[in-house]
């Protein structure tokens, strides 16, 4: 038995990915559940508008973090501030005092609502965009991102790695096909399946779960397209550093899990510790979730969604170009100048 244990440790030591998964994953979960996985909200971006905005803003405390004070504003401008995600709560001063809550941020809205007793009696509270605080209305649009991440990253990387395992990638490398032909030809079917996925989930969301669709179809398409390039690029990137399907799955899990936890899809970004929140801002799913909630629930303007859209666009270009460059390495003819110093026999 000792021999077996010793052998297992030796193999484990050399399998860096498994060690990374065994050590990295618990660490990540610790960070996520310690700093990120909180439903209690400690800070809520708040806008105060109307004639007494400055006085009310000065009196607000607790979790309400005043980010906009606009004495000239009214209920309509307050609604716009929430629609454009400039604030999660808007207080419209006047008589009666009105509080508008962003219903797309479930836990933020619930947390804010629970503190309404601090406000004067007679205050009107209205939840916008998702008045019933329906979980499915918030989750279904985000779920599109998660499913695309799965199809794009896991399934695509497995498909490419299978070519490498079977030796057919090497066969492609001795044909006149250009790397871009191979990569586009390889991912086009996944792209098509992913597009069908988007349409099906959206229709089911709208018909079965009564999720509203208030925004522009064009914006929906733009977010979907850019995000698809990101996830398919991630899939190809994962495949270029994986020698087997097992390795690809390990790596894909490491790409997938942080996005599920830190994108704001489940746990509100507002309740995460700042360092962890910034990790969330590095992840593509974060911006896709912002976009989808804006498009489905808020009917946000193009201007309001331009920031997540541009960031997603930049990520799509960077990740996809990186994927093509790495993939090229496998397929381009090798000459005497191409010998890497650290290469090992294949």
């Amino acid at each position: 038995m000792r021999a077996m244990i010793l052998k297992e440790f030796r193999q484990m030591r050399r399998d860096r990915r498994t060690v990374a998964l065994m050590v990295g994953l618990p660490l990540m979960l610790l960070i996520v559940f310690g700093y990120a996985a909180r439903f209690d909200v400690t800070s809520i971006d708040t806008a105060v508008v109307g004639p007494s905005a400055e006085a009310v803003a000065a009196q607000l405390g607790d979790v309400f973090e005043v980010v906009v004070v606009d004495p000239g504003g009214d209920a309509a401008s307050a609604t716009e501030l929430l629609r454009d995600s400039k604030a999660k709560v808007a207080i419209v001063t006047g008589s009666p005092l009105r509080v508008l809550l962003d219903g797309t941020e479930l836990f933020v809205a619930q947390s804010a609502r629970s503190r309404m007793s601090l406000l004067p009696p007679g205050t009107e509270v209205e939840i916008l965009f998702n008045p019933d605080l329906s979980t499915s209305a918030v989750m279904v649009p985000s779920l599109i991102g998660l499913i695309l991440l799965f199809v794009g990253t896991v399934i695509t990387s497995l498909g490419v790695v299978r070519e490498r395992e079977q030796g057919t990638l090497e066969q492609l490398a001795v044909t006149p096909l250009r790397p871009v032909d191979v990569i586009v030809g390889k991912i086009a079917p996944y792209f098509a399946v992913a597009v069908i996925d988007i349409v099906v989930i959206t229709l089911v969301g709208l018909q079965v779960f009564d999720v509203p669709f208030r925004g522009s179809v064009l914006m929906f398409g733009a977010f979907g397209l850019l995000y698809l390039f990101v996830v398919l690029g991630l899939g190809v990137l994962v495949s270029t550093v994986s020698h087997s399907q097992g390795e690809a799955i390990q790596l894909a899990i490491m790409v997938l899990l942080p996005q599920v936890m830190l994108s704001g899809m489940i746990f509100p970004l507002a309740s995460m510790a700042p360092g962890v929140r910034w990790l969330g801002y590095l992840l593509p799913l974060t911006y896709f979730v912002m976009g989808m909630r804006g498009v489905f629930l808020k009917g946000s303007s193009i201007g309001a969604l331009s920031r997540p859209l541009v960031i997603l666009g930049v990520m799509a270009v960077v990740i996809f170009v990186l994927a093509i460059l790495r993939f090229r390495r496998d397929l381009a003819p090798k000459r005497a100048t191409d010998v890497p110093a650290t290469e090992v026999p294949g």
Binding site: T168, Q171, P176, V339
Partner: protein, 277 residues
């Protein structure tokens, strides 16, 4: 300029030298057999010629150029693992490859079974057709007959010869010596180096073994093996490689074994074993 020209090619992996200063030419219409044991460097050399692996030093040209994507149109390659999609039918594989090369799909009928369900000999024939249906001028085959029946090997060699007769340059790696004899020229590799090359006659010319005929042939064999000689048996005749009759005689005499010791021409197998040792 020959379709394949390799001059002083070396490939290192860290401190391990897989291919060491190899020269190799393959002319149009010629079948060159790349022979050697596993690990001799045959596949590494083939991968360098195909541009799948860069040489650490030396110069490799195919059709007079260093590797380019366009010249791949003129090359056909059958890797050891066949390079077929196992979850497609053979016909679908042929169609896929024909589309890539813009050639007509071969009409060979392999049925509707998936490649993974076909016998290995049929898979190898399908791989060969897939690699040749665009009429390549250079055909590179890495162990094309490994694991197949003698009949299937004969069929494949017939196909290979026909390609060469059609003007293609053919480079075939193999560790079957009887197959190597089908090549016009043999290049023998051992530990990354070319240790001999030429026709079968060139390589075996002058190469001899020591033959031992003894009444107590079993004991004679035991004595020679115990003395560390390389021996094979042909019937009851013992053939001793890489040794002189005088030394063999002395060993047997010292052991008190009465035997007749002579020399005989070595076979290709025996010559190669000696060259590789």
């Amino acid at each position: 300029m020959n379709p394949v020209s390799v001059i002083g090619a070396t490939r290192r992996f860290g401190s391990f030298v897989a291919v060491d200063d190899v020269d190799l030419e393959v002319a149009a219409g010629e079948v060159v057999g790349l022979v050697g044991a596993n690990g001799a460097g045959k596949t590494t050399l083939i991968r360098m010629i195909l541009g799948l692996l860069a040489p650490s030093s030396g110069r490799i040209t195919v059709f007079g150029q260093t590797q380019t994507r366009e010249q791949r149109r003129r090359v056909g390659y059958v890797p050891q693992n066949l390079g077929l999609y196992r979850d497609l039918t053979a016909g679908e594989n042929l169609e896929f490859r024909a589309r890539i090369f813009g050639s007509a799909t071969d009409k060979a009928d392999f049925g509707d079974g998936l490649v993974r369900d076909l016998p290995l000999g049929t898979q190898r024939r399908a791989a060969f057709i897939a690699a040749t249906q665009h009429d390549p001028e250079l055909l590179i085959l890495d162990e094309p007959t490994s694991g197949v029946s003698p009949l299937a090997r004969t069929v494949l060699w017939d196909l290979i010869r026909r390609r060469a007769e059609g003007g293609a340059a053919v480079l075939v790696s193999t560790h079957y010596m009887d197959e190597a004899e089908q090549a016009d020229r043999i290049v023998l590799m051992s530990r990354g180096r070319v240790v001999a090359q030429g026709s079968v006659d060139d390589i075996v010319a002058g190469s001899r073994v020591t033959e031992v005929v003894a009444a107590e042939w079993g004991r004679a064999l035991q004595v020679l093996e115990a003395d560390g000689r390389m021996v094979t048996l042909s019937g009851r005749t013992i053939r001793v490689l890489a040794d002189t009759p005088e030394r063999v005689n002395r060993v047997l005499l010292e052991a008190g074994v009465d035997a007749r010791v002579t020399t005989a021409p070595a076979t290709l197998d025996e010559t190669i074993v000696v060259l590789e040792s």
